[in-house]
């Protein structure tokens, strides 16, 4: 796969800085995600890759930097950010968490329908219909009435993906979506993600699944110590890494001794 050059930029992050308690976790990371593009973010634990992706939908408020969606400025750290503009951005940028974060007291169907009704103002029937479609899409048509606690990790994560999809986001962010799932159940989540990618969804994924990144990503970004060390095609980054640091990382997570 190559970088699609024919389409515009869906999401652009410029010089994102973030510190926690005086420790600089992000030292100015920039990224452009083209429409329909799939970017995998890899890097060691504590490198700031999760913080970076959380900054992109303002779950963390960057200390410096800007965010553009479809060329429109949606965040500027130098200006006051209202709660409503944060919500407006989150309506357009979906998020799938490592720990699923499904609403515990709601069924799978309600999890997918709730925000459609409350945030998008869809009526009950339309929201329900769309929720059913999305749950079928991720292969959970037989589990719609179950609560999160009755579902496996892989199933919960697929509900979370459906919940995000139902909002018709322009980009979906994935924050280590398979890290908290039993190895056997990861496949079903990765399969859904691959289908999404093939359907043209714009995706930015923090992941440790090197093989998956190789198959599904158009570009791979390597983050270490709060900086984007390099970005390139999966071939460039994973097969023949341009940097000794990346080479070591890829070898280690691939289980090569």
């Amino acid at each position: 796969m190559t970088v699609p050059t024919h389409s515009g930029i869906a999401l652009s992050a410029r010089e994102i800085h973030k510190s926690f308690g005086g420790k600089e976790v992000l030292k100015g990371i920039s990224a452009d995600v083209h429409k329909g593009e799939h970017i995998a973010i890899i890097g060691p634990s504590g490198s700031g890759k999760s913080t970076f992706i959380r900054c992109l939908n303002l779950l963390e408020l960057p200390d410096a930097g800007t965010l553009d969606l479809q060329g429109e400025r949606v965040f500027d750290a130098d200006r006051r950010t209202s709660a409503s503009s944060v919500r407006a951005l989150r309506r357009r940028v979906g998020m799938v968490f490592q720990s699923f974060n499904l609403f515990a007291t709601h069924t799978a169907l309600e999890n997918v329908a709730l925000a459609q009704k409350l945030v998008l103002g869809r009526d009950k029937n339309a929201a329900r219909k769309r929720a059913e479609e999305q749950l079928e899409r991720v292969g959970l048509q037989d589990h719609m009435q179950k609560h999160p606690s009755q579902l496996s990790g892989g199933q919960q994560q697929r509900v979370a993906i459906a919940r995000s999809l139902a909002m018709d986001p322009e980009v979906i962010l994935f924050d280590e979506p398979t890290s908290a799932i039993d190895p056997e159940m990861r496949v079903e989540v990765l399969k859904v993600m691959k289908e999404l990618a093939e359907a043209g969804m714009t995706m930015l994924m923090v992941t440790h699944e090197i093989q998956f990144a190789q198959q599904a990503a158009d570009r791979v970004m390597f983050i270490a110590d709060g900086e984007a060390l390099a970005t390139g095609t999966p071939q460039e980054m994973l097969v023949d890494p341009p940097h000794e640091r990346i080479h070591r990382f890829v070898k280690a997570v691939s289980g090569v001794v």
């Binding site: 606690s149 995000s164 909002m167």
Partner: protein, 215 residues
């Protein structure tokens, strides 16, 4: 013999103080809990000071301070009102803790899940957080309300004519004190039964929902 109409009359006043103080404490507890959960250090400090003072001073002292000390306002002179305000203040710290514990029991992921789909604070609270926090809050609130019921006995000190007041008066005019106080003791006990059962039922519900069986 202890006149039962006096017991009933005293019971009515006891219930008035109990319910009044409970409602007042819930109203006061909401801002206390919000302050104590605030990200702002100063607000958190103010909330902490309130809880410290409300809890640190014995309830009987609170009642006397309000009854005799704050004699400028309307509360004074009417012992029942002074008792409601005094016990309401004390209990607000405990109910505030219940609310805080209830909110703390809900994982941050629930807030983030709601945020990630663009939900506002009100919807997040009422549709996602409170359904999980409320059972936790109510279980401990029910337990505190039993303590509050027993604390209403203190109101007799400032002359509120609740049950203890009547039992004491009856024993002054020749009723066997043991009979008088045993009688009202049983009445207190009877009232703790429905509250206790309610608390236990809620507790069981909380346990069930946290151990993974859908409600």
């Amino acid at each position: 013999m202890l006149d039962s109409s006096y017991v009933i009359e005293g019971l009515m006043i006891t219930l008035q103080i109990w319910v009044g103080a409970f409602l007042l404490s819930v109203i006061l507890a909401v801002p206390v809990a919000i302050l104590r959960r605030s990200d702002n250090l100063l607000l958190r400090f103010i909330g902490g000071i309130w809880a410290w003072i409300a809890r640190g001073i014995p309830p009987v002292a609170w009642l006397i301070i309000i009854y005799f000390g704050l004699s400028l306002g309307i509360i004074s002179e009417v012992p029942v009102y002074a008792a409601i305000v005094g016990l309401g203040v004390v209990n607000s710290a405990y109910i505030g803790d219940s609310i805080r514990a209830g909110l703390d029991a809900v994982p941050t992921g629930q807030w983030e899940g709601a945020a990630s789909v663009g939900m506002n604070l009100r919807d997040t609270l009422f549709r996602v957080i409170l359904p999980q926090a409320l059972p936790v809050m109510l279980a401990s609130t029910a337990a505190y309300s039993i303590t509050l019921l027993k604390n209403t006995a203190i109101a007799s000190i400032i002359g509120a004519n609740e049950m203890v007041f009547y039992a004491y008066n009856a024993s002054q005019v020749g009723v066997n004190p043991l009979v008088a106080f045993l009688t009202i003791g049983i009445v207190y006990l009877l009232f703790t039964i429905p509250v206790g059962l309610f608390a236990r039922w809620l507790d069981a519900r909380v346990m069930r929902s946290t151990t993974g069986v859908a409600s």
